[in-house]
């Protein structure tokens, strides 16, 4: 197996569910709420692979299930069904969804980084910027303050945060700076997989550009595999090699990003591309 991440048959259902939930929802019905029992099918039948150093985009409108999907990947939410294999964990032979919460936490801390849309989800805004990075390092059993501070300086330099602000609290930072601290934190343990959920939404255009530049640079320098979730096709076009298009909790189209941008096959993808300003 040379793929770093394999996802098979992942679904997440909110509600008690019935036999027809999966059948009666999806893009062909234009809904994700089961008309029989009222259950919400946030995502279903999701499967894909990510290769080393590859950047995978997940695009779709609000409510298409892309954020739920990424939350299940970071164990923020438990999926209803599905399998998840990571090359860096037991040679990719164990389904990590089946592990104990202690083991999941190990994977979360050592093998993954997550950058949320809203910095307050990924950061503790009233701890110092350095403290936030330290948290991730302490989770991985670092026990030397001097070493922790060196690593934090290195990461903050990489993400272009002035070192003098290292001991300041991110709540006094601008949105773009908070987002960069979040990226530093996510990268602290050199994770092989980085998850990015709508990282530039809510930032002004010039800051968006610098954050996107940073992410591109990190991907190139560190060879990290990334999963980028966005509703914004320009972000997807700039960052990703391959793209998955989601609607009503299902994958409707996937392929090379350029191909999807130039020659969308599914009617919904065509609509999305045509809606680009």
């Amino acid at each position: 197996m040379d793929n770093r991440v394999s996802i098979r048959n992942v679904s997440k259902i909110y509600g008690k569910g019935c036999d027809s939930c999966i059948e009666l929802t999806g893009p062909e019905h234009g809904r994700n709420r089961c008309p029989k029992c009222g259950t919400i099918v946030a995502c279903a039948d999701i499967g894909f692979d990510v290769y080393p150093g590859e950047v995978l985009g997940i695009v779709g409108e609000s409510g298409s299930g892309k954020s739920t999907l990424v939350k299940t990947l970071y164990f923020d939410e438990a999926p209803t069904t599905g399998e998840f294999y990571l090359q860096d964990f037991e040679e990719g032979l164990s389904n990590v969804y089946g592990l104990s919460s202690l083991q999941k936490r190990y994977i979360r801390n050592h093998l993954m980084g997550m950058v949320y849309q809203n910095p307050h989800l990924g950061l503790r805004l009233d701890y110092s910027a350095g403290g936030n990075i330290a948290e991730k390092l302490l989770m991985a059993d670092w026990n030397h303050v001097g070493d922790i501070r060196e690593r934090a300086k290195e990461l903050l330099t990489k993400t272009e945060i002035p070192i003098e602000r290292m001991d300041d609290k991110p709540k006094y930072f601008s949105g773009g700076m908070q987002q960069r601290v979040q990226i530093s934190k996510a990268l602290a343990n050199n994770p092989p997989l980085l998850l990015l959920d709508e990282v530039t939404t809510g930032l002004d255009v010039s800051v968006q550009a610098s954050v996107l530049d940073l992410i591109r640079q990190i991907g190139r320098e560190l060879g990290i595999s990334m999963i980028v979730v966005s509703h914004d096709f320009s972000v997807i076009r700039m960052l990703t090699n391959r793209t998955i298009v989601m609607k009503n909790g299902r994958i409707v189209e996937q392929g090379l990003t350029d191909q999807i941008m130039e020659d969308p096959q599914h009617a919904y993808t065509q609509l999305l591309i045509n809606s680009l300003i």
Binding site: S101, R124, G131, E135, K136, L138, H144
Partner: protein, 289 residues
């Protein structure tokens, strides 16, 4: 005191307390919930320690009660009277003579043995409360040994003040799993918990928790490689007995404003003074041997 059941508590309550205490001993550092009873002392005044003591005391025991090292404080006197009257045991102020010692925020200076039990009164048993307000979340963190936030708390202290500023309630890792609150004993007393011969029981009446550090258990204070744990030190010894190896308290002369240091363990200080006057007195060894 025939109006009361032996040891004040009814037998069912004592049975529950003993069961919970056994569980606490079996899982070192784990906080076991118990149905804390209404006591004739206000909650927060030692009701947790009081209930634990009453559940394990029996005829033939010798009781000592200290409050911040002192046998003479109002709280210590009243708890001692209540326990000794309802359970008909002898009392002492001598650490060496006691079989059960109930304490508020100190460990005696003389080393305790495997024949003795030390019962701590605990105001706030949850060490994670400073970093996590939710009880449910704290319990999950304990279960998964997810203590990074406590560590960050210490890191932030070092960044801001160049040292860990926690002077009491110092977090300790017990038996390699649970981090627990050794009750508000000073840092000076924390090393005494490590690989001791004595059973340490902790009762928090208001918060309804019992936990324990059994004998011969590893108790390691949280520290960084480059910022090791340290205990209080003093520039001079006790004003009364001259000891330089004890935990001292500060006191000011209200007329002259002069500052004095005295032993916080009054019984030990008294013995040292007798020794200084060349009178016969038996003094136990310190915890370091």
């Amino acid at each position: 005191m025939s109006m009361y059941n032996y040891g004040f508590l009814d037998e069912n309550t004592k049975r529950e307390l003993r069961r919970k205490t056994l569980k606490a001993v079996a899982i070192p550092g784990y906080q076991v919930p118990f149905g804390s009873r209404e006591m004739p002392v206000a909650r927060g005044w030692g009701t947790g320690g009081l209930q634990v003591t009453l559940s394990l005391i029996g005829l033939g025991d010798v009781l000592k009660v200290i409050d911040q090292g002192s046998d003479d404080s109002v709280n210590a006197c009243n708890l001692r009277d209540l326990i000794s009257e309802t359970s008909e045991v002898d009392t002492t102020t001598d650490t060496l003579e006691a079989t059960v010692i109930q304490t508020r925020h100190r460990i005696p200076e003389e080393k305790m043995t495997d024949e003795q039990i030390l019962v701590f009164q605990v105001p706030t048993p949850e060490i994670l409360r400073t970093v996590e307000p939710s009880e449910q979340e704290s319990r999950r963190m304990h279960a998964e040994r997810d203590y990074s936030r406590l560590w960050v708390h210490l890191y932030e202290d070092i960044v801001e003040w160049k040292e860990i500023r926690i002077s009491y309630d110092y977090p300790v890792l017990v038996n390699g799993h649970y981090i627990c609150d050794p009750s508000p004993i000073p840092r000076f007393d924390v090393p005494k918990l490590h690989q001791a011969e004595t059973l340490f029981l902790f009762g928090a009446g208001r918060e309804k928790r019992i936990y324990a550090i059994p004998p011969h258990t590893d108790v390691i204070p949280l520290q960084f490689e480059d910022y090791p744990f340290n205990v209080e030190s003093y520039e001079s010894g006790c004003e009364k007995c001259g000891s330089t190896h004890t935990y001292l308290e500060e006191s000011f002369d209200s007329n002259t404003g002069e500052r004095y240091l005295y032993c916080s363990d009054t019984s030990y200080c008294g013995k040292q003074q007798l020794k200084g006057q060349h009178q016969p007195v038996e003094i136990g060894v310190g915890w370091n041997g």
